[in-house]
Protein backbone atom coordinates (compact mmCIF):
# COMPACT_ATOMS: atom_id res chain seq x y z
CA UNK A 1 0.00 0.00 0.00
CA UNK A 2 2.70 2.43 1.12
CA UNK A 3 4.86 1.49 -1.84
CA UNK A 4 2.01 1.94 -4.27
CA UNK A 5 1.45 5.39 -3.01
CA UNK A 6 5.15 6.15 -3.28
CA UNK A 7 5.21 4.83 -6.78
CA UNK A 8 2.33 7.07 -7.74
CA UNK A 9 3.98 10.10 -6.18
CA UNK A 10 7.25 9.23 -7.87
CA UNK A 11 5.63 8.95 -11.26
CA UNK A 12 3.81 12.21 -10.66
CA UNK A 13 6.95 14.04 -9.65
CA UNK A 14 8.83 12.81 -12.67
CA UNK A 15 5.97 13.64 -14.99
CA UNK A 16 5.49 10.07 -16.14
CA UNK A 17 1.74 9.91 -15.61
CA UNK A 18 -0.80 10.04 -18.39
CA UNK A 19 -3.03 13.04 -18.51
CA UNK A 20 -6.01 11.30 -16.92
CA UNK A 21 -3.90 9.91 -14.09
CA UNK A 22 -2.36 13.27 -13.52
CA UNK A 23 -5.74 14.86 -13.39
CA UNK A 24 -6.87 12.27 -10.85
CA UNK A 25 -3.89 12.99 -8.62
CA UNK A 26 -4.52 16.69 -8.77
CA UNK A 27 -8.17 16.15 -7.92
CA UNK A 28 -7.15 14.13 -4.92
CA UNK A 29 -4.66 16.81 -3.88
CA UNK A 30 -7.48 19.29 -3.74
CA UNK A 31 -9.51 17.13 -1.42
CA UNK A 32 -6.85 15.57 0.73
CA UNK A 33 -4.64 18.11 2.47
CA UNK A 34 -2.35 15.45 3.91
CA UNK A 35 -1.87 13.87 0.50
CA UNK A 36 -1.16 17.22 -1.09
CA UNK A 37 1.55 18.02 1.40
CA UNK A 38 3.15 14.64 0.94
CA UNK A 39 3.14 14.86 -2.80
CA UNK A 40 4.54 18.35 -2.78
CA UNK A 41 7.35 17.33 -0.50
CA UNK A 42 8.06 14.40 -2.75
CA UNK A 43 8.08 16.55 -5.81
CA UNK A 44 10.45 18.99 -4.19
CA UNK A 45 12.79 16.21 -3.17
CA UNK A 46 12.93 14.65 -6.61
CA UNK A 47 13.30 18.03 -8.22
CA UNK A 48 16.19 18.92 -5.94
CA UNK A 49 17.80 15.57 -6.52
CA UNK A 50 17.69 16.12 -10.26
CA UNK A 51 18.93 19.68 -9.95
CA UNK A 52 21.76 18.36 -7.84
CA UNK A 53 22.63 15.92 -10.59
CA UNK A 54 22.74 18.48 -13.40
CA UNK A 55 24.64 20.96 -11.31
CA UNK A 56 27.16 18.34 -10.28
CA UNK A 57 27.69 17.58 -13.94
CA UNK A 58 28.26 21.20 -14.96
CA UNK A 59 30.56 21.75 -12.03
CA UNK A 60 32.62 18.79 -13.12
CA UNK A 61 32.73 20.19 -16.64
CA UNK A 62 33.82 23.58 -15.42
CA UNK A 63 36.47 22.05 -13.20
CA UNK A 64 37.82 20.20 -16.22
CA UNK A 65 37.88 23.41 -18.22
CA UNK A 66 39.70 25.19 -15.49
CA UNK A 67 42.31 22.47 -15.29
CA UNK A 68 42.75 22.58 -19.02
CA UNK A 69 43.20 26.31 -18.91
CA UNK A 70 45.76 26.16 -16.14
CA UNK A 71 47.80 23.54 -17.97
CA UNK A 72 47.66 25.52 -21.20
CA UNK A 73 48.71 28.71 -19.56
CA UNK A 74 51.58 27.00 -17.78
CA UNK A 75 52.89 25.43 -20.97
CA UNK A 76 52.74 28.51 -23.19
CA UNK A 77 51.82 31.20 -20.69
CA UNK A 78 49.19 32.67 -22.96
CA UNK A 79 45.92 33.39 -21.27
CA UNK A 80 46.77 33.99 -17.66
CA UNK A 81 50.53 34.14 -17.61
CA UNK A 82 50.91 37.64 -18.96
CA UNK A 83 48.29 39.26 -16.82
CA UNK A 84 50.17 39.89 -13.59
CA UNK A 85 52.60 42.04 -15.61
CA UNK A 86 49.80 44.51 -16.30
CA UNK A 87 48.13 44.12 -13.01
CA UNK A 88 46.97 47.66 -12.77
CA UNK A 89 47.79 49.72 -15.85
CA UNK A 90 46.16 52.76 -14.36
CA UNK A 91 48.74 53.02 -11.60
CA UNK A 92 51.47 53.61 -14.13
CA UNK A 93 49.61 56.34 -15.96
CA UNK A 94 47.72 58.07 -13.24
CA UNK A 95 49.99 61.13 -12.86
CA UNK A 96 49.62 61.87 -16.54
CA UNK A 97 45.89 61.30 -16.37
CA UNK A 98 45.60 63.65 -13.42
CA UNK A 99 47.44 66.39 -15.30
CA UNK A 100 45.25 65.92 -18.36
CA UNK A 101 42.13 66.07 -16.23
CA UNK A 102 43.15 69.30 -14.55
CA UNK A 103 43.91 70.94 -17.91
CA UNK A 104 40.50 69.85 -19.16
CA UNK A 105 38.83 71.26 -16.06
CA UNK A 106 40.50 74.66 -16.43
CA UNK A 107 39.56 74.96 -20.08
CA UNK A 108 35.96 73.91 -19.43
CA UNK A 109 35.48 76.41 -16.63
CA UNK A 110 37.16 79.10 -18.69
CA UNK A 111 34.95 78.49 -21.68
CA UNK A 112 31.87 78.47 -19.52
CA UNK A 113 32.74 81.82 -17.98
CA UNK A 114 33.53 83.34 -21.35
CA UNK A 115 30.39 82.11 -23.03
CA UNK A 116 28.31 83.26 -20.10
CA UNK A 117 29.47 86.83 -20.54
CA UNK A 118 28.85 86.55 -24.25
CA UNK A 119 25.48 84.89 -23.84
CA UNK A 120 23.53 88.02 -23.07
CA UNK A 121 24.96 89.75 -26.11
CA UNK A 122 24.05 86.84 -28.30
CA UNK A 123 20.53 86.80 -26.92
CA UNK A 124 19.88 90.38 -27.96
CA UNK A 125 21.46 89.77 -31.30
CA UNK A 126 19.24 86.82 -31.99
CA UNK A 127 15.98 88.64 -31.37
CA UNK A 128 15.60 90.19 -34.77
CA UNK A 129 16.33 87.26 -36.97
CA UNK A 130 13.28 85.05 -37.05
CA UNK A 131 12.27 84.61 -40.65
CA UNK A 132 9.02 83.28 -41.92
CA UNK A 133 9.30 81.02 -44.89
CA UNK A 134 6.72 82.51 -47.15
CA UNK A 135 7.88 82.60 -50.72
CA UNK A 136 7.45 85.86 -52.48
CA UNK A 137 6.79 85.20 -56.10
CA UNK A 138 6.80 88.89 -56.92
CA UNK A 139 10.44 89.22 -56.11
CA UNK A 140 11.28 86.20 -58.15
CA UNK A 141 9.09 87.39 -60.92
CA UNK A 142 10.75 90.79 -60.92
CA UNK A 143 14.23 89.48 -60.86
CA UNK A 144 13.27 87.02 -63.54
CA UNK A 145 11.80 89.70 -65.72
CA UNK A 146 14.84 91.86 -65.09
CA UNK A 147 16.92 88.99 -66.33
CA UNK A 148 14.65 88.67 -69.32
CA UNK A 149 15.05 92.37 -69.97
CA UNK A 150 18.74 92.04 -69.92
CA UNK A 151 18.63 89.13 -72.27
CA UNK A 152 15.85 90.07 -74.63
CA UNK A 153 15.54 93.76 -73.94
CA UNK A 154 11.79 93.41 -73.67
CA UNK A 155 9.78 94.72 -70.74
CA UNK A 156 6.30 94.19 -72.08
CA UNK A 157 5.26 91.51 -69.59
CA UNK A 158 2.94 92.97 -66.98
CA UNK A 159 3.81 92.22 -63.41
CA UNK A 160 0.93 90.18 -61.95
CA UNK A 161 -0.61 91.11 -58.60
CA UNK A 162 1.32 90.11 -55.48
CA UNK A 163 1.73 86.41 -55.26
CA UNK A 164 2.94 84.43 -52.33
CA UNK A 165 3.29 80.79 -51.74
CA UNK A 166 3.77 78.14 -49.15
CA UNK A 167 2.86 74.56 -48.44
CA UNK A 168 -0.18 72.98 -46.89
CA UNK A 169 -1.55 69.55 -46.13
CA UNK A 170 -4.85 67.77 -45.68
CA UNK A 171 -6.12 67.18 -42.15
CA UNK A 172 -9.41 65.58 -43.02
CA UNK A 173 -10.68 63.45 -45.84
CA UNK A 174 -13.49 65.91 -46.61
CA UNK A 175 -11.26 68.71 -47.77
CA UNK A 176 -9.77 70.71 -44.92
CA UNK A 177 -6.21 71.86 -45.44
CA UNK A 178 -3.85 73.37 -42.90
CA UNK A 179 -1.13 75.90 -43.63
CA UNK A 180 0.53 78.81 -41.83
CA UNK A 181 -1.26 82.00 -41.00
CA UNK A 182 1.54 84.11 -42.45
CA UNK A 183 1.20 82.34 -45.80
CA UNK A 184 -2.43 83.34 -46.32
CA UNK A 185 -2.52 86.64 -44.45
CA UNK A 186 -3.99 89.38 -46.61
CA UNK A 187 -5.07 86.89 -49.24
CA UNK A 188 -7.57 87.69 -51.94
CA UNK A 189 -7.81 84.16 -53.21
CA UNK A 190 -6.01 80.98 -52.27
CA UNK A 191 -5.39 78.07 -54.58
CA UNK A 192 -3.77 74.78 -53.72
CA UNK A 193 -2.31 72.32 -56.14
CA UNK A 194 -0.47 69.04 -56.27
CA UNK A 195 0.18 66.25 -58.73
CA UNK A 196 -2.62 64.04 -57.48
CA UNK A 197 -5.50 66.54 -57.49
CA UNK A 198 -4.46 69.38 -59.75
CA UNK A 199 -5.37 72.98 -58.86
CA UNK A 200 -8.19 73.49 -56.35
CA UNK A 201 -9.73 76.72 -55.14
CA UNK A 202 -10.02 77.09 -51.39
CA UNK A 203 -11.35 79.57 -48.93
CA UNK A 204 -9.80 80.47 -45.62
CA UNK A 205 -12.13 79.36 -42.81
CA UNK A 206 -9.85 80.28 -39.96
CA UNK A 207 -6.61 82.15 -39.64
CA UNK A 208 -5.07 82.28 -36.20
CA UNK A 209 -2.51 85.04 -35.91
CA UNK A 210 -1.13 84.15 -32.49
CA UNK A 211 -0.54 80.49 -33.24
CA UNK A 212 0.38 81.08 -36.89
CA UNK A 213 -2.07 78.44 -38.11
CA UNK A 214 -4.60 78.77 -40.91
CA UNK A 215 -7.31 76.35 -41.97
CA UNK A 216 -8.52 76.28 -45.57
CA UNK A 217 -11.47 74.43 -46.99
CA UNK A 218 -11.53 73.17 -50.54
CA UNK A 219 -14.39 74.99 -52.25
CA UNK A 220 -15.40 72.15 -54.52
CA UNK A 221 -18.20 70.49 -52.46
CA UNK A 222 -17.74 67.17 -54.21
CA UNK A 223 -14.16 66.89 -53.03
CA UNK A 224 -13.76 63.83 -50.86
CA UNK A 225 -10.93 61.34 -50.57
CA UNK A 226 -13.49 58.52 -50.18
CA UNK A 227 -11.14 56.95 -47.67
CA UNK A 228 -9.74 58.13 -44.34
CA UNK A 229 -6.41 59.94 -44.24
CA UNK A 230 -3.51 57.59 -43.67
CA UNK A 231 -1.88 59.62 -40.87
CA UNK A 232 -3.09 60.93 -37.55
CA UNK A 233 -2.42 64.24 -35.86
CA UNK A 234 -0.36 63.52 -32.79
CA UNK A 235 -1.71 65.07 -29.62
CA UNK A 236 1.37 64.14 -27.61
CA UNK A 237 4.58 66.10 -27.42
CA UNK A 238 7.34 64.72 -29.61
CA UNK A 239 10.55 63.55 -27.96
CA UNK A 240 13.86 65.27 -28.22
CA UNK A 241 15.89 63.67 -30.97
CA UNK A 242 12.94 62.04 -32.65
CA UNK A 243 13.38 61.67 -36.39
CA UNK A 244 11.09 63.96 -38.37
CA UNK A 245 10.33 64.45 -42.03
CA UNK A 246 8.80 67.19 -44.05
CA UNK A 247 7.41 67.68 -47.52
CA UNK A 248 7.00 71.10 -49.01
CA UNK A 249 7.21 73.29 -52.08
CA UNK A 250 10.21 75.59 -51.90
CA UNK A 251 10.36 74.96 -55.66
CA UNK A 252 7.70 74.00 -58.15
CA UNK A 253 8.49 70.39 -57.34
CA UNK A 254 7.74 68.74 -54.03
CA UNK A 255 10.85 68.52 -51.84
CA UNK A 256 11.46 66.06 -49.06
CA UNK A 257 13.56 66.92 -46.01
CA UNK A 258 14.48 65.04 -42.89
CA UNK A 259 16.09 65.74 -39.55
CA UNK A 260 15.36 65.53 -35.84
CA UNK A 261 13.57 67.40 -33.14
CA UNK A 262 16.43 69.48 -31.73
CA UNK A 263 14.55 71.38 -29.04
CA UNK A 264 11.12 71.24 -27.46
CA UNK A 265 10.69 74.99 -27.63
CA UNK A 266 10.72 77.32 -30.55
CA UNK A 267 12.10 80.74 -31.29
CA UNK A 268 12.69 82.66 -28.06
CA UNK A 269 11.54 79.78 -25.91
CA UNK A 270 8.14 79.67 -27.55
CA UNK A 271 6.56 76.61 -25.91
CA UNK A 272 4.18 76.11 -28.81
CA UNK A 273 6.89 75.21 -31.30
CA UNK A 274 9.77 72.82 -31.83
CA UNK A 275 13.19 73.55 -33.14
CA UNK A 276 13.99 71.03 -35.85
CA UNK A 277 17.11 70.28 -37.84
CA UNK A 278 15.30 69.92 -41.13
CA UNK A 279 16.58 71.84 -44.14
CA UNK A 280 13.80 74.26 -45.11
CA UNK A 281 13.59 77.22 -47.45
CA UNK A 282 11.10 79.91 -48.34
CA UNK A 283 8.03 78.05 -49.54
CA UNK A 284 8.25 75.37 -46.86
CA UNK A 285 6.04 77.40 -44.52
CA UNK A 286 2.85 75.56 -43.67
CA UNK A 287 4.32 72.23 -44.66
CA UNK A 288 3.71 69.18 -42.50
CA UNK A 289 6.25 67.71 -40.10
CA UNK A 290 5.83 63.97 -39.66
CA UNK A 291 7.43 61.64 -37.12
CA UNK A 292 8.79 58.20 -37.89
CA UNK A 293 5.47 56.51 -37.16
CA UNK A 294 3.98 58.59 -39.92
CA UNK A 295 1.93 60.87 -37.68
CA UNK A 296 1.83 64.62 -38.00
CA UNK A 297 3.75 66.35 -35.21
CA UNK A 298 4.10 69.91 -36.46
CA UNK A 299 3.75 72.62 -39.09
CA UNK A 300 6.90 74.22 -40.51
CA UNK A 301 6.80 77.93 -39.71
CA UNK A 302 10.15 79.63 -39.93
CA UNK A 303 13.89 79.61 -39.47
CA UNK A 304 16.39 81.51 -37.46
CA UNK A 305 18.79 83.26 -39.78
CA UNK A 306 22.50 83.30 -39.05
CA UNK A 307 22.06 79.97 -37.29
CA UNK A 308 22.57 76.88 -39.34
CA UNK A 309 20.02 74.16 -39.21
CA UNK A 310 17.56 75.85 -36.86
CA UNK A 311 14.08 75.68 -38.28
CA UNK A 312 10.90 75.95 -36.28
CA UNK A 313 7.64 74.08 -36.43
CA UNK A 314 4.36 74.74 -34.64
CA UNK A 315 3.39 71.79 -32.46
CA UNK A 316 0.55 69.59 -33.60
CA UNK A 317 -1.14 69.91 -30.20
CA UNK A 318 -1.53 73.62 -30.96
CA UNK A 319 -3.12 72.73 -34.26
CA UNK A 320 -5.61 70.46 -32.49
CA UNK A 321 -6.52 73.29 -30.14
CA UNK A 322 -7.07 75.63 -33.05
CA UNK A 323 -9.23 73.08 -34.83
CA UNK A 324 -11.41 72.87 -31.74
CA UNK A 325 -12.17 76.57 -31.98
CA UNK A 326 -13.38 76.14 -35.54
CA UNK A 327 -16.90 77.58 -35.73
CA UNK A 328 -19.64 75.11 -36.54
CA UNK A 329 -20.82 75.51 -40.09
CA UNK A 330 -24.20 74.22 -41.15
CA UNK A 331 -23.58 74.44 -44.88
CA UNK A 332 -20.36 72.48 -45.04
CA UNK A 333 -19.36 69.22 -43.56
CA UNK A 334 -17.49 69.56 -40.28
CA UNK A 335 -13.78 68.84 -40.08
CA UNK A 336 -13.38 65.18 -39.14
CA UNK A 337 -9.94 64.28 -37.85
CA UNK A 338 -8.35 61.05 -39.04
CA UNK A 339 -8.35 58.34 -36.38
CA UNK A 340 -6.09 55.70 -37.72
CA UNK A 341 -2.46 55.54 -38.74
CA UNK A 342 -1.94 53.27 -41.71
CA UNK A 343 1.70 54.09 -42.27
CA UNK A 344 3.26 52.54 -39.19
CA UNK A 345 4.63 49.49 -40.94
CA UNK A 346 5.67 51.04 -44.22
CA UNK A 347 9.22 51.98 -45.05
CA UNK A 348 10.25 55.57 -45.64
CA UNK A 349 9.84 55.61 -49.40
CA UNK A 350 6.40 54.02 -49.27
CA UNK A 351 5.38 56.47 -46.60
CA UNK A 352 6.50 59.48 -48.60
CA UNK A 353 4.41 58.22 -51.51
CA UNK A 354 1.36 58.23 -49.25
CA UNK A 355 2.14 61.57 -47.67
CA UNK A 356 2.91 63.23 -50.97
CA UNK A 357 -0.66 63.10 -52.27
CA UNK A 358 -1.90 64.98 -49.23
CA UNK A 359 0.61 67.83 -49.40
CA UNK A 360 -0.15 70.85 -51.55
CA UNK A 361 1.54 73.95 -52.79
CA UNK A 362 -0.46 76.93 -51.57
CA UNK A 363 -0.66 79.87 -53.97
CA UNK A 364 -1.90 83.11 -52.58
CA UNK A 365 -3.02 86.09 -54.61
CA UNK A 366 -2.94 89.16 -52.43
CA UNK A 367 -5.21 92.17 -52.52
CA UNK A 368 -3.46 94.98 -54.20
Amino acid sequence: MENEKLELMDAYAQGKLSREERYEVQERMLQDEQFRREIEAHEKLVHNLKAYGTRQEIKAKLARLEEELTINSKSNSSVVGDIPARKNPFKKYWPMAAVAASVALVSIVGTLLMTKSLASELETKQTAIYKELRKNFEQIQRSQSRMMENIAKSSEKPVPPGRYGGSGFLVSANGYVVTSHHVVVGADSVYIENAAFGPLKTSVVLSDDTNDVAILRIDDPSFNLQRPLSYMISSAEANLGEEVFTLGFPREDIVFGEGSISALSGYRQNPNAYQVSVPVNPGNSGGPLFNDRGDLVGIISGIQTETTGAAFAIKSSVLLNVIETLPADSVHQPLVLPRQNQLKHLNKVERIKKWKDNVFVVRVYAKK
Binding site: N48, A51, L65, E66, K87
Partner: protein, 190 residues
Protein backbone atom coordinates in the same frame (compact mmCIF):
# COMPACT_ATOMS: atom_id res chain seq x y z
CA UNK B 1 28.98 44.11 -34.00
CA UNK B 2 31.22 41.07 -34.11
CA UNK B 3 31.02 40.78 -30.38
CA UNK B 4 27.25 40.70 -30.40
CA UNK B 5 27.27 38.09 -33.07
CA UNK B 6 29.68 36.04 -31.02
CA UNK B 7 27.52 36.43 -27.93
CA UNK B 8 24.42 35.38 -29.77
CA UNK B 9 26.12 32.30 -31.14
CA UNK B 10 27.61 31.29 -27.81
CA UNK B 11 24.34 31.86 -26.02
CA UNK B 12 22.35 29.72 -28.42
CA UNK B 13 24.91 26.94 -28.35
CA UNK B 14 25.01 26.97 -24.58
CA UNK B 15 21.27 26.60 -24.55
CA UNK B 16 21.81 23.42 -26.50
CA UNK B 17 24.39 22.39 -23.89
CA UNK B 18 27.19 22.49 -26.40
CA UNK B 19 30.44 21.84 -24.56
CA UNK B 20 32.66 23.54 -27.11
CA UNK B 21 30.69 26.76 -26.68
CA UNK B 22 30.98 26.53 -22.92
CA UNK B 23 34.71 26.06 -23.31
CA UNK B 24 34.99 29.10 -25.60
CA UNK B 25 32.97 31.19 -23.19
CA UNK B 26 35.05 30.07 -20.26
CA UNK B 27 38.29 30.86 -21.99
CA UNK B 28 37.18 34.22 -23.38
CA UNK B 29 36.14 35.96 -20.22
CA UNK B 30 38.39 34.44 -17.59
CA UNK B 31 41.16 37.08 -17.90
CA UNK B 32 38.65 39.83 -17.14
CA UNK B 33 37.49 38.22 -13.91
CA UNK B 34 41.02 37.20 -13.00
CA UNK B 35 42.07 40.78 -13.31
CA UNK B 36 39.04 42.04 -11.40
CA UNK B 37 39.75 39.82 -8.42
CA UNK B 38 43.54 39.89 -8.39
CA UNK B 39 43.56 43.66 -8.41
CA UNK B 40 41.10 43.66 -5.51
CA UNK B 41 42.79 41.68 -2.77
CA UNK B 42 42.17 38.29 -4.29
CA UNK B 43 44.29 35.31 -5.21
CA UNK B 44 44.29 33.30 -8.38
CA UNK B 45 42.45 30.47 -6.68
CA UNK B 46 39.74 32.80 -5.47
CA UNK B 47 39.43 34.21 -8.96
CA UNK B 48 38.89 30.72 -10.31
CA UNK B 49 36.24 29.94 -7.72
CA UNK B 50 34.32 33.14 -8.31
CA UNK B 51 34.56 32.79 -12.05
CA UNK B 52 33.28 29.24 -11.92
CA UNK B 53 30.28 30.35 -9.95
CA UNK B 54 29.59 33.18 -12.34
CA UNK B 55 29.78 30.92 -15.38
CA UNK B 56 27.61 28.41 -13.59
CA UNK B 57 25.04 31.12 -12.87
CA UNK B 58 25.03 32.11 -16.50
CA UNK B 59 24.85 28.55 -17.73
CA UNK B 60 21.92 27.69 -15.51
CA UNK B 61 20.14 30.88 -16.40
CA UNK B 62 20.63 30.21 -20.08
CA UNK B 63 18.87 26.88 -19.73
CA UNK B 64 15.71 28.55 -18.50
CA UNK B 65 13.38 29.08 -21.44
CA UNK B 66 12.22 32.51 -20.29
CA UNK B 67 15.73 33.94 -20.15
CA UNK B 68 16.46 36.64 -22.72
CA UNK B 69 20.00 37.83 -23.20
CA UNK B 70 19.55 41.54 -22.61
CA UNK B 71 23.18 42.57 -22.41
CA UNK B 72 26.58 41.34 -23.42
CA UNK B 73 27.63 38.08 -21.80
CA UNK B 74 30.73 39.90 -20.65
CA UNK B 75 28.63 42.42 -18.76
CA UNK B 76 26.61 39.68 -17.14
CA UNK B 77 29.69 37.78 -16.02
CA UNK B 78 31.42 40.90 -14.77
CA UNK B 79 28.41 42.00 -12.75
CA UNK B 80 27.88 38.58 -11.20
CA UNK B 81 31.56 38.10 -10.44
CA UNK B 82 31.81 41.52 -8.92
CA UNK B 83 28.85 40.91 -6.68
CA UNK B 84 30.04 37.49 -5.59
CA UNK B 85 33.47 38.84 -4.85
CA UNK B 86 32.14 41.75 -2.83
CA UNK B 87 30.16 39.28 -0.80
CA UNK B 88 33.22 37.18 -0.12
CA UNK B 89 35.27 40.20 0.81
CA UNK B 90 32.51 41.21 3.16
CA UNK B 91 32.65 37.82 4.77
CA UNK B 92 36.41 38.09 5.06
CA UNK B 93 36.08 41.62 6.50
CA UNK B 94 38.33 43.03 3.85
CA UNK B 95 35.60 45.01 2.29
CA UNK B 96 36.26 48.26 0.51
CA UNK B 97 33.60 49.40 -1.85
CA UNK B 98 36.07 50.41 -4.47
CA UNK B 99 35.60 47.89 -7.22
CA UNK B 100 34.64 49.69 -10.39
CA UNK B 101 31.16 48.92 -11.53
CA UNK B 102 31.77 50.08 -15.04
CA UNK B 103 28.95 48.23 -16.70
CA UNK B 104 26.08 48.09 -14.24
CA UNK B 105 23.59 45.34 -14.79
CA UNK B 106 20.21 46.42 -13.49
CA UNK B 107 18.34 43.25 -12.55
CA UNK B 108 21.33 41.68 -10.83
CA UNK B 109 19.68 41.24 -7.46
CA UNK B 110 16.86 39.13 -8.82
CA UNK B 111 19.34 37.06 -10.78
CA UNK B 112 21.40 36.34 -7.73
CA UNK B 113 18.64 35.60 -5.25
CA UNK B 114 17.63 32.77 -7.51
CA UNK B 115 21.18 31.64 -7.94
CA UNK B 116 21.92 31.66 -4.25
CA UNK B 117 18.83 29.65 -3.50
CA UNK B 118 19.87 27.04 -6.00
CA UNK B 119 23.36 27.01 -4.55
CA UNK B 120 21.93 26.50 -1.06
CA UNK B 121 19.68 23.68 -2.20
CA UNK B 122 22.60 22.10 -3.95
CA UNK B 123 24.70 22.16 -0.81
CA UNK B 124 21.83 20.80 1.27
CA UNK B 125 21.29 17.95 -1.14
CA UNK B 126 24.98 17.19 -1.26
CA UNK B 127 25.21 16.96 2.51
CA UNK B 128 22.03 14.90 2.68
CA UNK B 129 23.37 12.41 0.18
CA UNK B 130 26.63 12.15 2.08
CA UNK B 131 24.74 11.55 5.30
CA UNK B 132 22.62 8.93 3.57
CA UNK B 133 25.60 6.70 2.83
CA UNK B 134 26.02 3.76 0.48
CA UNK B 135 24.44 1.93 -1.23
CA UNK B 136 21.39 4.17 -0.91
CA UNK B 137 23.15 7.14 -2.43
CA UNK B 138 24.25 5.27 -5.53
CA UNK B 139 20.85 3.70 -6.01
CA UNK B 140 19.09 7.02 -5.89
CA UNK B 141 21.66 8.74 -8.07
CA UNK B 142 21.46 5.97 -10.61
CA UNK B 143 17.70 6.08 -10.75
CA UNK B 144 16.95 9.77 -10.57
CA UNK B 145 20.02 11.41 -12.04
CA UNK B 146 21.52 8.91 -14.42
CA UNK B 147 18.08 7.63 -15.43
CA UNK B 148 19.01 3.94 -15.21
CA UNK B 149 16.13 1.46 -15.31
CA UNK B 150 15.14 -0.54 -12.26
CA UNK B 151 16.34 -3.64 -14.04
CA UNK B 152 19.92 -2.47 -14.49
CA UNK B 153 19.96 -1.19 -10.91
CA UNK B 154 18.86 -4.61 -9.73
CA UNK B 155 21.71 -6.19 -11.65
CA UNK B 156 24.29 -3.70 -10.54
CA UNK B 157 23.51 -4.07 -6.85
CA UNK B 158 22.78 -7.77 -7.00
CA UNK B 159 19.20 -7.89 -5.79
CA UNK B 160 17.40 -11.15 -6.43
CA UNK B 161 14.26 -9.66 -7.91
CA UNK B 162 12.92 -6.32 -9.12
CA UNK B 163 10.54 -5.94 -6.19
CA UNK B 164 13.36 -6.11 -3.72
CA UNK B 165 15.26 -3.47 -5.58
CA UNK B 166 12.20 -1.27 -5.73
CA UNK B 167 11.55 -1.68 -2.02
CA UNK B 168 15.10 -0.78 -1.30
CA UNK B 169 14.88 2.28 -3.50
CA UNK B 170 11.76 3.51 -1.72
CA UNK B 171 13.29 2.96 1.68
CA UNK B 172 16.31 4.97 0.64
CA UNK B 173 14.12 7.71 -0.73
CA UNK B 174 12.13 7.94 2.47
CA UNK B 175 15.33 8.23 4.48
CA UNK B 176 16.70 10.87 2.17
CA UNK B 177 13.45 12.76 2.45
CA UNK B 178 13.76 12.90 6.23
CA UNK B 179 17.38 14.01 6.19
CA UNK B 180 16.90 16.50 3.40
CA UNK B 181 13.94 18.32 4.85
CA UNK B 182 15.52 18.65 8.29
CA UNK B 183 18.57 20.21 6.70
CA UNK B 184 16.49 22.20 4.23
CA UNK B 185 14.46 23.84 6.94
CA UNK B 186 17.58 24.55 8.98
CA UNK B 187 19.23 26.19 5.96
CA UNK B 188 16.10 28.10 5.10
CA UNK B 189 15.75 29.45 8.61
CA UNK B 190 19.28 30.75 8.70
Amino acid sequence: MAEYYFDELIFNEIRKKNEVALRELYKTHYPMVYHLICSNNGTEQEAKDVYQEAVLAFYERAQQPDFVLSCKIKTYLYAVSRRLWLKRLWEKKRFDNNIPDNEPFPALDEELVDFEERERNFETMKQSLEALGEPCRSILEDFYIRDLTMESIREKFGYTNADNAKNQKYKCLQRLKKIFFVKYEAADGK
